[in-house]
Symmetry: C2
Subunit: 352 residues, 2 copies
């Protein structure tokens, strides 16, 4: 926990003086005031986060953390549990959605086994940082111990720190884990004071009876474990997942290094919610890439106070929406740094 506390200590507010100066610069570019809307907001936020007037977004990194969930024993997912490990192989081979979209925006993908229930071989394309072979079935008891949750957060911090040495200017969160919308829903229910029915969606593709069962399983998990919303790590350990905990660590570590974090969908949102509950200041470092079709995601975003950039009915996860968000962040910084000013281009300014 000391490691985590040290990271939290290093999270400060973003640089408001630079935000202000960036606004002045944006207003001098050859366009009507504010006419690039949220791209301008994004440019200001990234400048404020980095503390730099002209941040470079050269190194774009998406962390895709994979783990299994014991709660799949309760039939909460439309896909068999084996798919988690199979998809990790797909990430390594470059055939998944995240590979395609990360390449599209010029980001590198760091694939991590943080708790897959299979023996995976580490290699140049895969870090193996297993906390366990999947979590326990949270419908019967805590998904993991408090010690495991802390270890998983620290694992995320370590992953970020290692990768930071190679260069990170902006980071995206991603995940893979059959059953993890169930964990994300339970986390959201714990913190956001909304009925489980309003939070829970069909995940990767449940039918109506499947959804009903999923809701019952989440209710049971909350009843059995009684997670304490005043203690974020209690919630995370009792009804969370290893990949969610790892992403929480990555988000906290990114903020401590003044790196903007692009949050993907619902599961990443649950990790962001845990990070926010641990240290609310982390919010200013977050960019919500999109609003997922999973209904609980909107509740998370509103709870933290984030406005998503995109609304494309995505619900794949892996970091795919985050990749598109990174592309927009890139566009925003290019606007700031590459456009001509009224003066340099000899364009007349507003006259009324």
């Amino acid at each position: 926990m000391e490691r985590i506390n040290n990271v939290i200590k290093n999270i400060s507010g973003i640089d408001q003086a630079i935000v202000k100066n960036t606004q002045v610069r944006l207003d001098n570019l050859t366009k009507p005031l504010g006419s690039l809307g949220r791209l301008e907001e994004l440019a200001k936020q990234i400048c404020g986060i980095s503390g730099k007037a002209n941040p470079l977004l050269t190194n774009k990194v998406i962390f895709t953390l994979a783990a299994d969930h014991g709660v799949t024993d309760e039939g909460v997912s439309a896909y068999p549990k084996e798919v988690t490990a199979q998809m990790v192989s797909n990430f390594i081979a470059g055939g998944a959605g995240i590979n395609v979209l990360a390449k599209h925006v010029g980001a590198r993908v760091v694939v991590v086994d943080i708790g897959v229930a299979a023996e995976l071989k580490p290699g140049p394309m895969l870090r193996v940082r297993k906390i366990g072979y999947g979590t326990k079935n949270m419908a019967k008891g805590p998904a993991m111990s408090r010690g495991e949750a802390i270890k998983a957060i620290q694992g995320g911090i370590d992953l970020f720190e290692e990768e930071f040495k190679r260069g990170i200017d902006i980071v995206g969160t991603g995940e893979m884990g059959i059953g993890n919308t169930t964990a994300a829903s339970a986390i959201t229910a714990s913190f956001c004071d909304k009925p489980v029915e309003e939070i829970t969606g069909k995940g990767a593709g449940l039918d109506e009876p499947g959804l009903k069962n999923k809701i019952e399983v989440i209710k049971k998990s909350l009843l059995v474990n009684k997670p304490d919303p005043a203690d974020a790590i209690d919630v995370l350990s009792k009804v969370g997942g290893f990949e969610i905990a790892g992403l929480t660590g990555i988000i906290l570590a990114a903020a401590s290094h003044k790196i903007p974090v692009v949050i993907d969908g619902f599961i990443s949102g649950a990790a962001a919610l845990v990070a926010f509950k641990i240290e609310p200041k982390v919010k200013d470092y977050m960019i919500a890439a999109h609003k997922s079709q999973e209904r609980g995601h909107k509740i998370i975003l509103e709870h933290i106070g984030l406005r998503p950039l995109l609304d494309l009915d995505l619900r794949l996860g892996e970091g795919t929406g985050g990749a598109l968000g990174i592309g927009l962040a890139d566009a925003a910084i290019k606007i700031l740094t590459q456009m001509a000013t009224f003066k340099s281009a000899n364009v007349s300014e507003k006259n009324i």
Copy 2:
């Protein structure tokens, strides 16, 4: 008009068999069914438009048409009229928003003077296809003659055909013209049966009295000209603009060549509306890039029946939102053509 009629004759429905096959292929990719939401819709639409199972989006072209508006005499814009020509110079020099965002998505920008009220020199970066030195003041009479409107549409068709020889796989619409939100509002009011107050926005940055005046000027223009909504070219000539007419031609020509057209904001939307009124089949070839902050844009999109991809509070025009839309179209086609299938990646399929 014969030229235009020939183009219209070549606009057919999109290929529904290919749309269906594309759906089957998307469903075989390693992701839950439909989980890439609107990217999947976009991939299907582009396949259907092109008639190709694997369309390439190598040549991305944004047409940015510039023209002046006589109605600026009525004080309808926050910027002086000279800015139109100055911004054309900025486009040529590469310092405008559209240059930055087009480069970001790998598109080339074709800058066209179709009616700027200044002598501009053609060059490798600028086509000069002037229909006139700005339109006439529509508050006092028709903005242009019917002949000029037809000539401007044909000008757009010619521009598309020329550029098509160099290669176009997807096209974006863009424009620049001080005063052109006034023309776009008048066009929208003519076709969409909504009060001028609901359609008219602050354009590049009017204050409240300026907006009030703009509304009065639009009302007067409609009263003086009585554009006939059953005759799209009547509306276009009386309260339109040269750049809007040129874009109408580009949109029709693109559809006739089975090329997807990404519509930018409010002014481009007005051109799309005119094209739609001339030939409703053109709708299926349109991709609405974003919802502009100019309030009339939403009315246009709903009238045609288009759902915008992005909602980023943009209101710059030039084709900037279109550029971002082209980036998403590119992502969509990469998803379709680069992702692994369940079979090729040995990933198990849905079991319930």
